[in-house]
Subunit: 288 residues, 2 copies
DNA sequence: TTTTGTGAACTCATTCACAGCT
DNA sequence: AGCTGTGAATGAGTTCACAAAA
């Protein structure tokens, strides 16, 4: 891990195919699974940067993110050439590139509906600002909550949601309401021009095809956990599981020596030691 | 959708292969992706049962859950024979079978650490009880919160976490603390015998391989959303995307004709219309 | 020599289409 | 007639192993 020595040769951006591709920052197609992990890499890179780390190898970065180094390199390769062979990746440059690929440089504006416990937790969550998101509006149905001030934002009535979204130019809507309100809120979002929705309600939302919904369902998470625990237990007296001497996953040196400051934001990586072979990592969250 | 007529012939449980397999309820291997969706089916079945629905076809159930009917049937097939050909699935029976396969019938005991906004939202979340989980312990570091009573549980000091886990026989631990406490809490869980951890902190936890960690990271969710929104936008004026006449994904008839009262459940379907091919469904929730 | 970037092999997951039961 | 269960085909995602670059 190299530190505090300024400049590094930039990777040669010799474009590969036809030249019309440079119009958008994003060149190749980038699989969904990769996108999810890019967000994780970004978080780790942030920590490294805070620590003053300038260069990092795929092995180090991969360990810190909890994935294999080959997978990491493959993931990054979708963004074009990033590193310098024999050296590693420039932390700052890589960070910027991922942010750009993820579209985080366009300052997304977020509107949240439902200011209960969960909603407040989200509203106060500091991680947003640092990640290119700005919370611009809070809404609720309960009269007792209207007018509340949370981190400098006033809670508005949900009846004004549609017009509010339009005026605020929101690009992302978050649903943290009780289940029975979720569909109505989603519809209002759509009517207000929001095309990306993050929902914490388990109900399946009915929206036009152009709108993307990501669902985060706590019960599902717990149930998956439950299943894996059952299976592991069933397997432990089982037939032929290998001696399982596989050493702990922290093979390389632990990354951040001092710091580990900053806020979090991470992905849905998981490791279930499957009954048989290696650990199955499972990207993503909230899905149908 | 058949209602209110009691009995239905039970599917013939003619076991297929060798007979030693009936020891555990779970016969085949069940892919991760399927496990995640089983949890979703379970939720929908619960709603149907509440409505008094007795029999449901794969097509109906699939629409209500937002997946294709073929996928649903394949998923269920991993649990053995469930339905009756020419008829459909017995709602109660199927529900019981999924619960058993997921290990929800063993009454998991959940311990939660970090009683801030998020933690309280989780602690009060009613969904747990109905799903075979019981919240048995709450812990925090902040002296002001120790002794608080939340839904009949007293908040204890986190120093007593390890022994608490052991006494309470917790099987699932939830981390809803600030990031800097996450690793210590995870270690205490492990020391206390907990082998399944659900973490809302983005930090990569260092735990033994036998322990399963699922992480739910808000920022990652938002970033994925951001990416997809960017790409969709980039594609709409794009070079040579095919005429995209591909018909909407709801090929079958819309679900709820008359009934389907009670709670929501809609057929929406998540997914982003990828620039190129089909819709990428992405399992899980608050997930990875 | 070190470390990236990537084709090629492989494993996991989804979709198709139809045989098999009721 | 109708609907489930599943092999076989396709596609997505991961791992391997090595050539190319610094």
């Amino acid at each position: 891990v190299t530190r505090e020595r300024p400049v590094v040769p930039a990777p040669v951006e010799r474009s590969v195919g036809s030249e019309r591709e440079q119009s958008t920052g994003t060149e190749r197609v980038i699989p969904q699974a990769t996108v999810t992990r890019l967000a994780t890499y970004l978080r780790v890179l942030g920590i490294l940067a805070d620590d003053g780390v300038l260069i990092v190898s795929s092995e180090e970065l991969a360990n810190a993110a909890g994935v294999g180094s080959a997978k990491l390199r493959k993931d990054l390769s979708f963004l074009g050439p990033n590193g310098v062979r024999g050296v590693g990746y420039d932390v700052m440059r890589l960070r910027a590139k991922i942010e750009s690929a993820l579209g985080l440089d366009r300052g997304h504006k977020v509107v949240l509906v439902g200011v209960g416990n969960l909603g407040q937790a989200l509203a106060r969550y500091g991680g947003f600002g640092r990640r290119g998101f700005t919370m611009v509006g809070l809404f609720d149905r309960d009269p007792d909550r209207i007018g509340l001030d949370i981190d400098g934002l006033r809670v508005e009535h949900v009846d004004t949601l549609e017009s509010g979204c339009r005026e605020l130019e929101a690009t992302i809507g978050v649903i943290a309401t009780p289940d029975d309100a979720a569909q109505a809120v989603a519809s209002a979002f759509v009517a207000g021009g929001v095309e990306c929705i993050l929902s914490f309600s388990p109900v399946e939302l009915d929206v036009p095809d152009r709108v993307e919904v990501r669902r985060v369902d706590l019960a599902v998470e717990m149930q998956v956990l439950s299943f894996n625990s059952s299976r592991r237990e069933a397997a432990h007296g089982g037939p032929d599981l290998p001696p399982t001497p596989r050493l702990g996953r922290s093979r390389g040196p632990r990354v951040s020596p001092g710091g580990m400051s900053g806020a979090g934001v991470a992905a849905g990586v998981v490791s279930s030691p499957g009954s048989t072979s290696s650990n199955t990592r499972n990207g993503s969250v909230i899905a149908p």
